[in-house]
């Protein structure tokens, strides 16, 4: 018999209560860890953006298009290195379930500005001279077993071509590599020229423009200059850094994450109340035993320590189970969600947070029992006869 053994046995004294309380801890830490994984994904796409790139879209909505000739006007501005334009194709392969991020880009400039896509030089050259050429990622090539030279039909849910069909014909011309595993690896590019000539409507228009600024200029000034340029035209613009743009796009996720966070705090608070309440209840039930141990010569401190260890045992068990379960779930979900929320991962530092949360929560849960133990008058407690 030693004191740890006593703590252990006391913990499992009421198995149902222990299990139920422990389960609430499991749920709380499961949610906490899951959210940490999603949070990681949301932040990942933001940090991948480039600080020297600006994003210009229609002032009213990203869904409205802008004239392609804005590119030349922006290029002429001071502080601008290069500018390109992109149209959203919104494609899928065969089935709407196989969503792909297909974009029509200006083949002359796009990959100069977005140099994070590593494309072999000869493939890039070949793509530039292939009107219906596609640039796809290695992961897509692997997934659909597409090779260079393959004819690939892609469908758009937005764009009809001149033959009145939503099905477009392409040829795989280049495959790019990326080190990171983000949304970007889902991207497929083709020539805006082909897009413009073949689509049934909205000729000479583009979804948005990307501007690369010189490294020594203030992004805000250039943004303002761009927007001023088109202020009085039919299509006024709104320009921000790419980072801000991605953040705004992700805002719906961020808002969701915010809601989850609030819920999580509530769950955590409830958890604290549950465990706290359990410990108070446990302590009250054992008041006689506590008084006896005090009479025998156990100090209040050593008795409080036992309560703390008991809370710690319950919380750690729940936290370990919950975090483990979430980690396993995320590693499964990660593959299935890779399409629209890639980068789900748990930072190792998260487990450190869990560790400190458990230690802190155990402390909080021992607080009220500690006060009771400290104030307990042995003669009164043992004197009160059953």
């Amino acid at each position: 018999m030693n004191l740890l053994e006593l703590v252990f046995r006391n913990s499992f004294r009421k198995k149902t209560r222990f299990t139920l309380t422990c389960l609430s801890v499991v749920v709380a830490f499961f949610l906490l860890t899951t959210l940490a994984g999603i949070d990681h994904a949301l932040n990942a796409s933001v940090s991948n953006s480039n600080q020297y790139r600006l994003m210009t879209s229609h002032k009213i909505s990203i869904t409205r298009s802008l004239p392609i000739n804005y590119q030349q006007k922006i290029k002429a501005l001071a502080g601008v290195e290069n500018a390109t334009y992109v149209s959203w194709f919104g494609g899928y392969f065969q089935n709407e379930k196989n969503q792909l991020a297909v974009m029509a880009v200006d083949h002359n400039t796009y990959f100069d500005i977005f140099d994070e896509y590593k494309i072999p030089a000869e493939q890039l050259t070949s793509w530039k001279s292939t009107r219906t050429g596609l640039v796809i990622s290695q992961s897509i090539a692997d997934k659909y077993d597409w090779q260079i030279g393959d004819k690939v039909p892609l469908s758009s849910s937005i764009w009809m071509n001149k033959s009145g069909s939503f099905n477009w014909e392409f040829i795989v011309s280049a495959i790019y590599q990326r080190q990171d595993n983000t949304t970007d690896s889902k991207r497929i590019f083709f020539q805006h020229l082909y897009f413009d000539k073949a689509r049934a409507y909205a000729r000479n228009m583009t979804s948005w423009l990307s501007t690369q600024i010189k490294t020594d200029v203030d992004d805000e000034q250039v943004s303002k200059a761009i927007d001023k340029l088109f202020n009085n035209s039919d299509a006024a613009t709104r320009t921000t850094t790419e980072q801000v743009f991605i953040k705004e796009q992700a805002q719906q996720f961020v808002d969701m994450a915010m809601v989850i966070k609030v819920v999580l705090i509530a769950v955590f608070f409830t958890l604290l109340l549950i465990v706290c309440n359990t410990m108070i209840q446990v302590n009250r039930e054992r008041l006689n035993e506590t008084a006896m141990m005090k009479a025998i010569g156990f100090s209040s401190l050593s008795l409080v320590k036992q309560v703390y260890l008991e809370s710690l045992l319950m919380l750690s068990l729940g936290a370990i189970l919950g975090s483990l379960l979430a980690t396993l779930t995320l590693s499964q979900v990660q593959l299935q969600f890779a399409d629209f929320l890639p980068g789900i991962a748990i930072d190792p530092s998260h487990y450190l947070t869990v560790f400190f949360l458990v230690i802190g929560a155990a402390g909080l849960c021992s607080l009220f029992p500690a006060i009771t133990i400290k104030r307990l008058i042995i003669s009164e407690t043992l004197g009160a006869r059953a």
């Binding site: 018999m1 053994e5 209040s300 042995i378």
Partner: protein, 253 residues
């Protein structure tokens, strides 16, 4: 029973309550339980305290055992003023000097008899093996060796009380304080427990102070204090007894 012999170095543990005032105040109400109370108990004595309910018998035991403090007055045990000790020192002192036996045994239900008896030893520097040995000895002494691995719920009331006695004596305290130790037991079982206490007093020299309502239990004691009469003797008579007794105690009779 080597571990339960009175260590020769242990000095006599006389119990002296001097000019004790004990009152409880709750709001405007002030309940005076003891007023200018004096009592001396010789080391190695077996004293039974009797008297009507509510007279303050348990309170006296709590004062002697350092579970409670007098409102004023001295509590001196083995020459030490325990009413002056700090809370933590008093806790430590209890572990070393006092064994408590209550009407309800308050055994921990999650521990076996052996585990319960080992409990006080976790406060000592003894190692695991020694603790087990000492606990086994104590259990053997109270006749519970064969029940060492049974849990309290598997024991009868008398057996539980025996285990509680083993727990009280396992760290070899000089003084045993018993508050109605046979209150919950039938005559036969009570007699067995009382005989056990008598044995601890006779063979191991434990000082025993026992509160009881049972006249027959009192017969086991070497001195019976009828608290009602004792208090009626008055302050002078009590006070007059002390110096005498103290003297006789101090000269070792």
């Amino acid at each position: 029973m080597s571990t339960l012999s009175v260590a020769p170095a242990k000095k006599l543990n006389n119990i002296i309550l001097q000019d004790i005032n004990k009152s409880y105040s709750k709001g405007d109400n002030n309940v005076v339980v003891h007023d200018k109370f004096n009592l001396a108990i010789k080391s190695g004595d077996f004293v039974a305290i009797m008297g009507p309910s509510g007279l303050g018998k348990s309170t006296l035991l709590h004062l002697m055992g350092g579970l409670d403090r007098p409102t004023s007055g001295h509590v001196e045990i083995g020459g030490q003023r325990i009413d002056e000790l700090s809370e933590s020192k008093l806790t430590r002192w209890r572990a070393d000097n006092i064994g408590f036996i209550f009407q309800s045994h308050h055994l921990l239900p999650v521990l076996s008899a052996q585990g319960n008896v080992e409990l006080p030893l976790s406060l000592t520097p003894l190692n695991k093996k020694q603790r087990q040995q000492h606990a086994a000895n104590a259990l053997a002494l109270v006749g519970m060796a064969d029940r060492a691995h049974h849990f309290p719920k598997e024991l009868s009331g008398g057996q539980e009380q025996r285990v509680a006695i083993a727990r009280a004596i396992v760290s070899d305290p000089q003084i045993l304080l018993c508050d109605e130790p046979t209150g919950n037991l039938d005559r036969k079982t009570a007699d067995e427990i009382l005989a056990l206490l008598k044995k601890l007093n006779n063979d191991f020299g434990k000082t025993i102070v026992m509160v009881t309502h049972d006249l027959k239990a009192a017969e086991y004691a070497s001195r019976v204090i009828n608290l009602e009469e004792y208090i009626a003797l008055g302050v002078e008579a009590q006070g007059a007894q002390i110096p005498q007794e103290q003297q006789s105690i101090l000269v070792g009779e």
